[in-house]
Amino acid sequence: MILLLQYTLIFASVLMLVALGGCFSEHSGIVNIGLEGIMVMGALGGALVMKFLPNLSAPLMILLVVICSMALGTVYSLLLAVAAINFQADQTLVGTAMNLLGTAAATVFVKAMNTAESVDNVSSIIQYVNQKKALVVYIGKFEFNWFMLIALVLLILSYFILYKTQFGLRLMACGEHPQAADSVGINVYKMRYAGVLISGMLGGLGGIVYITAGVSEWKFENGVAGFGFLALAVMIFGQWKPHNIALAALLFGMLRALSNVYTAFDFLAALNLPGNLYNMLPYIICLVVLAFTSKNSRAPKAEGIPYDKGQR
């Protein structure tokens, strides 16, 4: 039971962070399909800190890991920002390319690094067995991960920024009706850059949280196994609102956790359902919800449409 709770909370933190990232990007009017790739890059950033600075004190380690994964995620999201905002590229195409590129680039990088260390090592694995201990505190049997707290803080902060600050309201205006926003003097391009970069920041952080959840080494060839897309489902299920996203993340995180530990529950094991069903459920739920709510969708109205100042 404790294991289920622990996995639920950590997976929910991942999903929430990444979905909030997607939420910022979409509210500014850019569809970010590339979250998966951004997560891989963020994960790489954090893992590198843990690999090369293994002897830091716990708070410093957490701080550096967070900063580095956020930084790499942000830099990587620039690829989307430049293409989609300045060059009016197809956002779905660029996002797809970023997903493929993220995994490929991380694999090439890690393999090159491993091979440079010893010629026989051609794996794409980074290990962080000891370093990971800095991230967790045991409360009884429950493994509390500091990232859970960070995710909660960022959730509250996101809510506040989106709804209570001038910046957030302007950002959302750019996703609803950029021409109107521009007419009252808001720089749509800048706002969209901000939205995409914030999504890179949160997505990158989500990446490192994901690869340190439960395991103590990561094979970068595997990317992040669809968590970026699952986060997209969380964002839609949460109707692009931070507080709903948090609830959706908890639900989907629990389903993900169940697929790992369902055999420990007698009544679930007795049902004898394949573990894949729990993996599948979030997507099915999301699709059904979409089918019933899309007629009056809460999605930002101008998302996915490149903004051209000269167009009316």
Binding site: V31, I33, L79, A83, F87, Q88, A89, D90, T92, L93, V94, T96, A97, M98, N99, L100, L101, T103, A104, A105, T107, V108, K111, A112, T115, V119, V122, S124, E221, N222, G223, A225, G226, F229, L230, L232, A233, I236, P274, N276, L277, N279, M280, Y283, I284, C286, L287, L290, A291, F292, S294, K295, S297, A299
Partner: protein, 381 residues
């Protein structure tokens, strides 16, 4: 002469070709730079190895054999890219090609291994499964206004997990892979019609290769020469205008997605029914084939005939990646190159726009010069 040259540059086909070549060039340059950073001494050799692929072998018959392998993998890629471009013509971004590919693999392998059906039944089963999956996205969009990209992404993962579960029943007991096709049910292996002899006895070269090319040509004919293709494109340009003109825009959208789905899953069947590869039931992410189909579609300038070339090229460099010197580099370098190529493809529209603008400006300048020359000439007289 000069006038002809400008008009040639203005030709949409030529522009697409130039843009694609530029994308490839940028992709290769970035790949080369990455190789240089990793290990400068071997970079030249590695990039030529990737470009040469099977040509790295010196003997002609070995070359032919490995060309056969590349072709066997080109066929599914070509069909995935056709799936993407067909939907794109109707204004839909079929990111679900990946999932439709998965369901095609699942259906064809299940019919082949569990139900012991001959190859044509497996192929038809895959086509139907893919068409149904595609139609779900189409129906959701046409009647419930669900964004196609989103529903496709969800269906990608749903189909991955269902296929993993389904194929576990025909799995090898000791490994995550499905049973080998050739020994379990030889009747399900695609016939080669003697094509294997052309490629030095490579049994993976089957009717899949010519079939894929024929389908590319059929898709071109459908899009360019039939009423249906015209209606699909009209729906893509403006759904409401198409409706106003009396076209059944909803039916068109659903049908487009069904055909797109059928194409992608047929690609999977044409690949897995050669026995080239077995399905791994522990796969944690959707195979890249469908996403590479997006790359091939855009690199081919969204034309079915261009797709034939671009899918061969992408498969060619992916296979070439396997030959790089493993003590310095890894095979994923070719994934890196092809993903850069997709990324750069996003800039193609801008490239064409910039090129047309440049042509306009140079034409204007020329006209100005000629005008001033005439004036001068007039003054001298």
């Amino acid at each position: 002469m000069k006038k002809e040259k400008t008009s040639l540059l203005r030709n949409a086909g030529v522009q697409s070709l130039l843009a694609s070549l530029l994308c490839i060039l940028i992709g290769l340059i970035v790949g080369y730079i990455v190789l240089l950073i990793i290990e400068p001494s071997g970079a030249n050799k590695a990039i030529t190895t990737i470009i040469k692929n099977f040509l790295t072998y010196s003997r002609t018959d070995t070359q032919l054999k490995y060309l056969g392998n590349t072709l066997a993998k080109t066929a599914p890629l070509l069909l995935c890219s056709l799936s993407v471009l067909f939907a794109y013509k109707a204004g839909l971004f079929n990111i679900g090609a990946a999932g439709q590919y998965v369901i095609g693999a699942g259906a064809s392998l299940y019919f082949a291994l569990a139900l012991n059906m001959p190859w044509y039944v497996c192929l038809i089963a895959a086509i139907i499964a893919g068409a149904v999956l595609g139609a779900i996205s189409g129906l959701l969009y046409a009647y419930r206004n669900v964004n196609v990209v989103i529903s496709c992404i969800m269906l990608n993962w749903i189909s991955l997990y269902s296929v993993n579960t389904l194929l576990t029943s025909v799995k090898d007991s000791t490994s995550p892979y499905t049973l080998p096709l050739a020994s379990t049910n030889p009747s399900a292996v695609l016939p080669t019609l003697g094509l294997d002899k052309l490629f030095n006895g490579n049994e993976y070269v089957t009717i899949a290769v010519p079939l894929a090319i024929i389908i590319a040509i059929i898709i071109w004919v459908v899009l360019e020469k039939t009423k249906m293709g015209y209606e699909l494109k009209a729906t893509g340009y403006n759904k409401n205008a198409a409706k106003y003109c009396g076209m059944q825009e909803k039916k068109n959208l659903v049908m487009t997605m069904a055909i797109a789905g059928a194409l992608a899953s047929m690609g999977a069947a044409l690949y897995f029914l050669t026995g080239f590869e077995q399905w791994s039931c522990s796969q944690a992410s959707v195979p890249d084939m469908g996403f590479n189909g997006i790359a091939a579609a855009f690199l081919g300038g969204l034309s079915p005939l261009g797709s034939i070339l671009s899918s061969f090229f992408i498969q060619h460099i992916s296979s070439g990646g396997a030959y790089v010197d493993k003590t310095m580099y890894c095979a994923q370098i070719s994934d890196l190159i092809s993903s850069i190529i997709i990324y750069v493809c996003g800039f193609v529209l801008f490239f064409k726009y910039a090129m047309n603008k440049w042509l306009d400006r140079s034409a204007e300048k020329k006209a100005e010069k000629e005008a001033s020359k005439d004036e001068k000439g007039g003054a001298e007289q």
